[in-house]
């Protein structure tokens, strides 16, 4: 993989050039003590002090709510439809996503791309360039190395930056042609990089369990009691799904604007919600929280590997950080290993 070096002092100039042709730039911004991806005008607004942003960058490709099409009903009962318009999607650069977020683009693409193509997702993905930044620190919730990831993994990024030296610059690994085009925009700002090894600058994330063993045990535990004991305190609030970079479940709803016009929209949903599978008759195939917890884990660690050849978890640890009752995914997964 081709490597370049860019001094920290040149980053602002490069990101300025990146925005030159009207591209939108999304990057981590700290507001009220919380770091999230925001649209920024200048590199000065960016903050990279965090281990992990509160929300992942997935909203750029799979927004929290998205219009699927619009309709206008005429007084005579006729209806005209206005299709989803991909030309309205802005070209975007996402700067500063961690390798676990970039890795989550693969399970997302798996779900939205298998069998039939999901146009809103694929059209957005076509217009985004992802600039990842490796992790030099981790916390107790991180477990990327337990699920096939790595704090310096370039998978999913178009360019991967790693802070090197005493923090005075970045090693830039050019992963895709889209990434190369973005580096070329920087011209001389990028220098040649020789003799720099990113491995010296990465966080050490301990391997917390054998994921193969966990998956094997989990697949055979459908009727077991472990789901009940693990989920006894789960509130079904859905926070874990809303912060997850790999969760893709959605609802389809009507956003009626009155006077017969409106939009069909989709919005994030969670398999942890009690209404998720509720039939109109009142019957619910997953009526208890333990059944819904089982679905969450089996979907990510058994069904997705089986159907899409990719896991639905990259070990970012967000679900554990966000959970109001301290459910810790890495610990819960570890329990399966010893079943």
């Amino acid at each position: 993989m081709e490597q370049k070096y860019i001094p920290k002092a040149s980053l602002k100039a490069w990101l300025g050039k990146v925005r030159d042709d009207g591209r939108r730039l999304y990057a981590p911004v700290t507001e009220n003590g919380k770091t999230s991806f925001r649209r920024v005008k200048s590199a000065d607004e960016i903050s990279m002090e965090h281990v992990q942003t509160a929300q992942s960058a997935k909203g750029v490709a799979f927004p929290r709510t998205e219009r699927l099409f619009s309709y206008v009903r005429q007084p005579d009962g006729d209806v005209t439809l206005q299709d989803y318009d991909p030309s309205a999607i802005p070209d975007t650069v996402v700067f500063g996503l961690r390798p676990c977020d970039a890795a989550a683009l693969k399970p997302l693409s798996g779900i939205f791309g298998w069998d039939t193509e999901d146009k809103p997702f694929s059209e957005r993905m076509r217009r985004v360039v992802f600039v990842g930044v490796s992790c030099s620190r981790c916390d107790a919730f991180c477990f990327c190395t337990s699920v096939g990831g790595h704090p310096g993994s370039a998978e999913g990024s178009d360019i991967l930056l790693t802070v090197v030296g005493d923090g005075e610059g970045y090693l830039a690994e050019i992963v895709t042609d889209r990434g190369r085009a973005l580096v070329e925009k920087g011209g001389d700002l990028f220098e040649s990089a020789t003799g720099i090894s990113k491995e010296d600058y990465l966080a050490e994330v301990p391997v917390r369990f054998s994921v193969e063993e966990v998956q094997r045990k989990m697949a055979g535990a459908f009727e077991g009691d472990i789901w009940k004991s693990q989920s006894a305190r789960c509130l079904g609030c859905g926070a874990c799904a809303f912060v997850c970079p790999a969760c893709a479940c959605f609802d389809i709803q009507e956003n009626a604007r009155g006077s017969g016009a409106g939009d069909r929209i989709r919005c994030w949903d969670s398999c942890g919600f009690s209404l998720f599978t509720l039939h109109t008759s009142g019957h619910n195939p997953r009526s208890t929280q333990s059944q819904r917890w089982r679905q969450r884990l089996l979907h990510k660690f058994c069904y997705m590997p089986q159907r899409l050849s990719v896991r639905g978890c990259t070990g970012c640890g967000r679900c554990s950080r966000a959970c109001p009752v301290d459910m810790n995914l890495a610990e819960h997964l570890g329990e399966f290993e010893h079943l």
Partner: protein
């Protein structure tokens, strides 16, 4: 560029039939002539029906693929979208996207006898297969239909029931729950599983297709066991809640199977291999 899989086809309501209290059949015609000409589906498939302004609902296609030029759905007024669809009148526009899901393996059933067992509003998915089989009658041996509803008023497709009754090549048995009969009722009185046992159909070279509320299915399977039907010769459909219909929204799965992609048609043998999440 790929099509937008969430964009429905506008369809015109050609005909509304009030089947039973709260149950209607809509005959729909595609507005786009190209779509009307090329649209194809197979028995067992379903679609997402739009009431613009209210949302979408999942119904099977209740008409037979052998009847060209239109599709039909039969639905019970149950909640938000179905109530809105029930208010629409002939000539008005709604939306349809589909067909989705797998199909009844009619080709594999060639040369066999078919036994249909349906309860309540579950006749629609079966009506599609029944007409498909009747329109290709020479492919099959005996065709028997056992259909039960709560009361005489709740029987749907009354006109077609009469037609099937009069056909010499169909053996139709209708039944209503005890207390649901009217003075002039000539059919059976009793719950579907009990009537099935009395009917005593042969399992030999026969496929049983069972659709109905979960409790009916639960008590019908053991009767079929007793009659000698093997799990691989019993078919049913699942109705897990759906949104996308195309394997993305994540809510219709039973274990690793998506009802919207791998179903809604399952043999009992296939169901037995799945966790009981339906």
């Amino acid at each position: 560029m790929a099509d937008n899989i969430y964009l429905p086809h506008p369809v015109t309501i050609e005909k509304v039939t009030q089947e039973a209290p709260g149950v209607r059949t809509l005959r729909l015609k595609f507005k786009d002539e190209e779509v009307a000409r090329t649209f194809e589906f197979k028995a067992g498939q379903f679609g997402e029906y739009s009431a613009f302004g209210e949302g979408e609902s999942t119904f099977c296609i209740a008409s037979s693929p052998t009847r060209k030029g239109y599709i039909e759905c039969t639905f019970r007024e149950a909640g938000k979208v179905t109530s809105a669809l029930a208010k629409l009148e002939e000539g008005q526009t709604m939306g349809f996207r589909g067909p989705y899901g797998n199909t009844f393996p009619l080709d594999e059933w060639k040369g066999k006898s078919l036994l249909f067992v349906a309860g309540g509003i579950a006749l629609p998915p079966m009506r599609c297969v029944i007409w498909n089989a009747l329109d290709t009658r020479s492919n099959f041996k005996d065709i028997s239909i056992l259909y039960g509803a709560k009361s005489v008023a709740d029987l749907v497709y009354k006109h077609e029931l009469r037609e099937w009754e009069e056909r010499p090549d169909v053996n139709l048995l209708t039944t209503v729950d005890p207390g649901g009969e009217t003075p002039g009722w000539k059919g059976q009185v009793g719950f579907v599983p009990a009537v099935l046992e009395k009917m005593n159909p042969t399992a030999e070279n026969t496929v049983a297709i069972v659709c109905g509320p979960p409790v009916m299915i639960k008590f019908t399977f053991p009767v079929l066991d007793k009659l000698g039907f093997k799990p691989e010769n019993i078919y049913t459909t699942l109705e897990n809640r759906m949104k996308c219909g195309v394997g993305k929204c994540g809510r219709c799965n039973v274990g690793s199977k998506y009802v919207c992609k791998d179903g809604p048609v399952f043999s009992r043998a296939q169901l037995e291999a799945l966790p009981a999440e339906y």
